[in-house]
Symmetry: none
Subunit: 215 residues, 4 copies
DNA sequence: CATGAATGAGCATTCATTCAT
DNA sequence: CATGAATGAATGCTCATTCAT
């Protein structure tokens, strides 16, 4: 985990660690592909091993159980989502409403560029063991809270309909963010950026409502 | 499966058919419950039989394969959706925009009152055999077309943003319609009707956009 | 479990229950044979199924886990041991020492006629799950107590060496009772009865020691 | 495995051989511990490597197969037993009966001080390959013969019951020698020496029987 | 000597499906 | 209609063993 760069055996050890890391990522990517196609329960460890070109027994060098693969996927997706949140919050001097628009755009572009893990993230939560499920739900609650806070702030800034419940609006925003992965087909239809723009506009209208008339 | 229509004892035969029908519905309902909890692949025929209080061998009097249960569920959901569509189209003397609002309301109320089959309808399409999957996709396309047509009509009536793609907007409407099943918990939160009203309002705003300024 | 003899469908139901019982016993007997040959851990469910002439999948109609087979074997052996204890205690008007001799004889004859289950009973206790292991240990403690009490009584009757610890002597008695299963080979060597007589005599001498000189 | 006897640096080579020897012993001891806890079949090479603090791949520098570990254990136990036999036979000017008592004492003390290897020695014979199993059985037969000869000699000296079969009595002696490893718990109960004394007395009484009356 | 990734055969267990009763 | 024993293929997982580094 910590970088030990300039000691007496850095090269080979570092390389080995890097290779391991890379292999781990390949394993999770293979799992994502197979889970996406067959669903978690319908997917077989054999299928994932085939995808990697190794024997299924060998796959168990990287995992303890099939569920580990699912959870690693959740961890990966979560880390990426957190990064988006951080970046969106780091932008300065914009209104809460514009921050929401930015967030929606970024998230949708990301989702469309990572269809498979995202689909799994939203479909297979209940296949995790209770402990892990709870952990993921906690992450999501934080995520949810982030959006609600922005909406509430926009209401205070007079840019969001004050008569609507922020929690319910946040849910509708999530709906718009998540759904494109179900109909987007790379190559066909618009680019992720175009879709993201249109959806962000749709969301902003829904949030603003009659607030703007006052402004 | 076999048609026993025109025989000499219509009454008792009718009753028997009804009883058969009723039992079939119980079977599908049990399957819906179990598929909802464990996913189609994760669900077992044993589990469904347990839910019905019979042995799994006995369940095969009602089905040929496990997939039959899934498909019947799709048929049932589809029939209900069609009914909503028919009712929404039967209402006279309203604008396209109001018809959309009506449709969204009706559909969301229905979804929230039938959480389990709806969740399966949106999750397990890929578990159907190719033929059946194609059939369901065709139904959905028809459904999709219905909404796109309404949006296009609203654009012509000057009540929907003419700069946005009707297909993309339709997708966002579907997103808002479908998503509530993921966060709605009966008892807690608002009633289905209240949720439906709020979501319909959100959707209408997104569709109208800057069109209203002209009006 | 309870006998329902004279009801309206006793014959077929009773027969079916009997057949089930008989099959269960065959299953345990097959397991005993295979566990005896390969040890519990080394034995395979496949091997037991082969012994029964069914597929290994079919075996799971009778059990939930491989360990169930082991535990049923323990239950069976325990029931048989209890029966011997009861019979030995039911004999009236004999001294404690003679009761010990009788018990040793009966137990050794039984062990030699049930070599396989007995061997497993004394070898594979630690392969049981903690709960079940505890249950078996409790049974054995009771069994142990039974013998210690008899020895103590014999000491009081002046027929057992009063200078020796009853618990330690009981252990030596068990040693003599159990060990024959390791060297006895049916057909070769003496009959179970002859072996039992000689061992019982050996045990009695060890217990009596110098007590008899007083008598 | 390779003999590096007569080379030009005997000292350092000797040290290296010693170190090698020591490591080999540690390996066998680790195997003994793990085999004792899980049984030979239930034990894993991984578990033994863990016990040694090395990786399982590394363990294969010391062995060719898992069975090698088991056989080395048998060799070790056998060497120790032989040593006891030699020492007991080296004692001069005692009767056969006293030699038996001495042997029983020494063997029980040894067994209680080496619980794990002894337990394996008596439990896992059948897990050896046929060739090795035959070798061990031959050792044991020799061991058995040693005791029978002593008993026969005691009969001739008028100190053992002449009406009993020496082979059968030898088996009962072995029973008493071996069994304590099943109930002895270090710390609790008596010391190995006290147990050995009591058991030796028990055995001697069983062997003497009515012979003493003549004496 | 030690590592650790990979192998490949095997294992306990599951489960949709069949069918004689 | 219902039962339940049986099937047989598949599944997740284990583990002794090998070998390039």
């Amino acid at each position: 985990v910590t970088a030990r760069e300039n000691n007496n055996a850095p090269k080979s050890a570092g390389r080995r660690r890097d290779r391991r890391h890379k292999r781990d990522d390949e394993v999770v990517a293979a799992a994502a592909k197979v889970f996406y196609e067959h669903g978690y329960s319908g997917a077989t460890v054999q299928g994932i091993a085939d995808e990697l070109g190794i024997l299924k027994g060998s796959l168990y060098h990287y995992i303890d159980t099939k569920e580990d693969l699912l959870f690693r996927l959740f961890e990966q997706v979560h880390a990426e989502v957190e990064e988006i949140l951080d970046e969106v919050m780091a932008v300065e001097d914009i209104t809460a409403l514009e921050r929401i628009r930015l967030y929606v755009r970024r998230q949708i572009v990301h989702n469309l560029e990572h269809l498979e893990p995202i689909a799994i993230y939203y479909h297979e939560l209940d296949r995790l063991s209770p402990d892990r499920r709870r952990a993921v739900i906690a992450w999501r609650r934080r995520h949810d809270q982030f959006l609600r806070d922005l909406i509430r702030q926009a209401q205070e800034e007079g840019q969001a309909d004050p008569t609507q419940d922020p929690a319910l609006m946040a849910n509708n925003v999530f709906a718009t963010i998540i759904w494109p992965y179900r109909w987007y087909r790379p190559g066909r239809s618009e680019t992720p950026e175009q879709i993201a723009d249109a959806c962000a506009e749709f969301v902003v209208r829904g949030i603003v409502g009659k607030a703007q008339q006052a402004a």
